[in-house]
């Protein structure tokens, strides 16, 4: 089956999105084709806007549409507690709990040598600078319990151990060991097939 060129291009673009396969892409494309002009224009405009109008908060690294993000602008937030997260998505996960009323610091990732990410690639220096000027009383390390999350938390707790505030650890997501779903296949695969030396 050959589609008219513009439609085919749309289907191809949609397929680049996560979780979208060829069938879904085709369905979405036909849906958009029959949708009112105004709706399609609004979608296209919002797609362009997230690239042109969004920036990162100059203070915490959260996604923002202004110099300071909505959290940092909110006068009701408690500046004496700072929560360190890997990504904006993790920040949103903490926000959803409605348990935390302090401010955030978004690292922009986790330490992972296999991905070429070390402390220098993360927003760690801005964190240290911030701690100097804002002097909070508590720093909450809220990274995932994966080996990278743990490594990042350990690195930061060492780096900041001589400071005057309390450093606490809060593991986001699943409890330790529950990333097994994927990982035990790998370990078992290696154990059974035995083709790779762990060294």
């Amino acid at each position: 089956m050959t589609l008219p060129e513009p439609l085919e291009r749309l289907v191809e673009e949609l397929q680049r999105l996560p979780t979208v396969g060829p069938k879904t892409a085709l369905r979405l494309a036909f849906h958009l084709l029959s949708a009112p002009d105004s709706q399609v224009r609004a979608l296209a405009q919002s797609l362009l806007d997230i690239k042109s109008k969004l920036t990162t908060c100059e203070r915490c690294g959260n996604l923002s549409d202004a110099g300071l993000c909505a959290v940092c602008r909110d006068p009701r937030r408690d500046p004496s507690v700072l929560c360190v997260v890997a990504t904006t998505r993790d920040l949103m996960a903490v926000e959803r709990t409605r348990e935390f009323r302090g401010l955030y610091h978004v690292l922009g990732g986790l330490i992972s040598p296999l991905d070429g990410i070390g402390p220098a690639q993360l927003r760690i220096q801005p964190l240290v600078d911030r701690l100097e000027t804002e002097s909070p009383s508590e720093l909450v390390l809220a990274t995932n319990p994966t080996v990278s999350g743990e490594a990042t938390a350990l690195y930061l707790s060492r780096l900041l151990s001589a400071k005057s505030f309390r450093v606490t650890r809060l593991a986001l997501g699943l409890p330790v060991g529950s990333d097994l779903e994927y990982a035990d296949e790998v370990t078992l695969g290696r154990a059974f097939a035995g083709r790779r030396e762990m060294s």
Partner: protein, 369 residues
């Protein structure tokens, strides 16, 4: 080894598995002999059982060949029962996928198992194949894998820690290879996590080697009909306590950076076998090596059965052909102490025990004599 809660395989059903079109087999406890010429399907029966215990095949062939040629799906189903207990049904099935691979599903009592880890230990079993000679003659890696697999089956915490250890090791090795070389504060988070996982792995390995020891010595003596003393000597590459581990690691940081890999830890441990105090690998005869490999597997079954309190099935692939008549005879006597044993062979030994289930395997079907 005569408690009341022992697991027994009562029934095995195959559908389009390997060269079996359809098979329904009711099985006795005790020694079950699978007799047949080569390439008739004896080993495929052990493979089917092993797949139910681990979801993995022990044979080196493409997974796609599990499904009989020209068929779209295959199924292995078995009914197990503990003495006085309820029957458990396990099923593994495969459907050919579009990409030429197989989609596998595992069901327990008809309900899909979500995690592969849930299958381990469900039906404890130990398998011996002729390739197990490499447990004795091969590198330490094979012996570590032997301990790891046994421990993963009896301890979910061990499995979780081993998984984690492997992930930390890969990250740490990558960091060690990086240039400019990593600083000590950069290495520290990985060192600490290695120490934590190692603190679970090493003591448990020590413990399980202790449990294996008695059985190995006993089985080896009976098998070789000698007073020879076979001992297991577990040699951890680093102390298990976090302090000792970290200082052993720190002592070799420089060397690690020049080699670009982690030099200390459970991934470098060895399990040495000593016969009357001397290295079995170096000084033992081929016959002693075979007996020792068998003793390790039979000890594994005993330890696994004791840990899980329900005995373990023993699967022996073609172990008689390599043993002399005396050893073969003594092996059968030892096997009488296990609840259920599956043994493949090309010929029935002359002096065979009366109480034995003999199944003849011919071209993917079973004939009872």
């Amino acid at each position: 080894m005569r408690e009341s809660r022992k697991v027994v395989l009562e029934r095995l059903e195959l559908l389009d598995f390997r060269n079996y079109r359809e098979l329904e087999l009711d099985l006795p406890s005790g020694l079950v002999l699978l007799v047949g010429e080569n390439a008739q399907g004896k080993t495929a029966l052990l493979e089917a059982l092993y797949l139910l215990g681990t979801s993995r095949s022990f044979r080196a062939s493409r997974e796609a060949e599990l499904v009989r040629w020209g068929c779209l799906e295959a199924r292995v189903r078995a009914v197990f029962r503990r003495d006085l207990g309820l029957a458990r049904e396990l099923e593994v099935n495969w459907v050919r996928a579009g990409d030429g691979g197989l989609e596998r599903r595992i069901l327990r009592n008809g309900a899909p198992l979500r995690r592969l880890a849930d299958l381990l230990g469900e039906v404890p079993m130990a398998l011996f194949t002729p390739g197990d000679l490499s447990l004795i003659q091969g590198s330490p890696q094979g012996r570590r894998r032997f301990l790891d697999l046994l421990l993963c089956k009896v301890s979910p915490l061990y499995l979780a820690s081993l998984t984690r250890y492997g992930s930390v090791l890969r990250q740490r090795n990558e960091l060690l290879r990086r240039r400019p070389a990593p600083t000590l504060p950069e290495l520290a988070p990985w060192d600490e996590q290695l120490a934590t996982a190692s603190g679970v792995l090493v003591p448990r390995r020590q413990q399980v080697v202790g449990s294996l020891q008695e059985a190995v010595t006993d089985i080896f003596r009976r098998l070789s009909d000698s007073r020879c003393d076979l001992r297991l000597n577990y040699r951890p590459a680093a102390p298990p306590d976090p302090e000792g581990f970290l200082s052993a690691l720190r002592a070799r940081h420089r060397e690690e950076m020049s080699r670009g890999s982690t030099q200390v830890g459970p991934h470098r441990d060895d399990l040495e076998l000593l016969l009357d105090g001397r290295s079995l690998q170096r000084y033992g005869s081929q016959g002693q090596h075979r007996s020792a490999a068998l003793a390790l597997r039979l000890a594994e079954a005993r330890v696994m059965g004791e840990s899980l309190e329900e005995g373990a099935l023993v699967l022996l692939d073609d172990c008689l052909s390599e043993l002399d008549v005396g050893r073969g005879q003594r092996l059968l006597e030892i096997l009488a102490g296990y609840r259920q044993v599956f043994l493949t062979t090309t010929t029935i030994p002359l002096s065979f025990p009366d109480r034995v289930g003999v199944f003849r395997v011919v071209a993917g079907s079973i004939l009872r004599p």
